[in-house]
Symmetry: C2
DNA sequence: AAAATTTATTAGGCTTGCTTAAAATAGATT
DNA sequence: AATCTATTTTAAGCAAGCCTAATAAATTTT
């Protein structure tokens, strides 16, 4: 069965929102889809009648197994195309999101499987997000928010929560990319900002807003190993 | 300015039809678009109001300069994606048309220019049709219909007029591909069929219907050079 | 040239995905 | 518990792109 680009976008948005929230509200969806709550209610009824999600008036929404399967497949397409654009066509990781928003709706399953093979079965997209395999299995990322790390921890940036051009502009300016190694030096309780050290030993300050969007893999801290093994 | 996939498809269809016919009738368009004449009339009014084509009721239709520019750009995208699918992803030339019908509507101009570069600025798509450059210039093919060649001429298949799966099935069966060298051995006036010789010296018969869809580049006949140099 | 036929257009209606404005429900406040 | 407020739904309507049926114009036949 084929679904419209609009329906696919709703499924994808519910999928992403329910990662965080469990069940998704009409207003949250309207914000994510840049549309009005009334439009969302309309669409939820249609998607419910197609058994792609569970929906009770005034009670929010959750994907069914089938809805989730479809959503993951769209995420897979999005991330594989992003990888293609960066790795093969030489785009910057900050400029590929919009193009991938269109390419993710290309329907051929065979095409996306061949593309994955051509790209060498990459694990993650250029933003560090995991790429689901053709069975919908996604390697779970053990990344945590930079915000949550204690002082003196070393870590590596593994992905970026927000995908906006604005955050990309800031990250480029600070010379932060996927794979950059950081050490948390200080935390300021006043505004929850962090001071971190880059590989070249320079120090920069990161706002709470930014650090909550930076996901990192903690690195075993060689300098001081804690009490646990 | 961005146009819907449907509008782009109409422009492309008018472009292809007016190559042959000069001015295009409503019914011809309806057949090409697999829709009804009434729907075509509706759409022609919209495209006219956007100055993409010249249209007078009951008098058929022609693209304006701007409409033609857009149509060529869509053809460019279609053919570059086809080339990508065959050359990079390893699809057969007979299976890529449908996928390219979707991919041709991806809007980013930068993407298609980068893709062209990545592919090495190919001249023709896998069907032998010329790929317009990013200024819309198309290398004019000097190909003629196989049908029109005189007996004893040698030629090379350069492209295929029809893009259907049916013609592909037949060509695969006869082992005819772009680049195959042929010599016209006999012409039968009864049904306009041809007997041609393949590189392995085998002889096959080609119907008028097929030979009018096979475009060839005449090769200078080395065996017997005619009176003209 | 009138009649018959083909071709094209108009009229009215459907679905999808969106909108605004009004009404209903849920959740919070007193 | 009653009221207020925020959230959500319903109602009505619009544009795009399609449909069928009816009508009009052009073309062919007689």
């Amino acid at each position: 069965m084929k679904y419209s680009a609009s329906k696919e976008n709703y499924l994808k948005a519910v999928f992403h929102l329910q990662q965080a929230q469990g069940t998704v509200s009409t207003n949250a969806l309207a914000a994510a889809m840049q549309t009005r709550a009334a439009s969302v209610t309309d669409m939820l009824k249609k998607l419910k009648s197609q058994k792609l999600l569970q929906y009770e008036r005034y009670k929010g929404v959750k994907l069914t197994a089938e809805g989730k399967r479809l959503a993951i497949h769209i995420v897979r397409k999005h991330r594989l195309w992003e990888y293609f654009l960066v790795d093969k066509l030489g785009f910057g990781w900050e400029e590929v999101h919009e193009m991938a928003e269109e390419l993710e709706h290309i329907s051929s399953k065979k095409l996306i499987d061949r593309l994955e093979e051509y790209l060498g079965f990459p694990d993650t997209d250029p933003h560090g997000d995991p790429i689901p395999d053709n069975q919908g299995r996604m390697r779970v990322s053990k990344a945590v928010q930079l915000q949550e790390l204690p002082v003196r921890t070393t870590c590596i940036i593994s992905h970026v929560g927000d995908q906006s051009a604005e955050i990309m502009e800031l990250l480029n300016h600070l010379r932060l990319t996927i794979g950059t190694r950081l050490e948390v030096k200080r935390k300021f309780s006043f505004d929850q900002s962090l001071e971190v050290m880059l590989p070249d030993e320079s120090l920069i300050t990161i706002s709470q807003h930014l650090s909550s969007n930076l996901f990192v893999k903690p690195e075993k801290n060689l300098a001081l190993s804690g009490p646990e093994s």
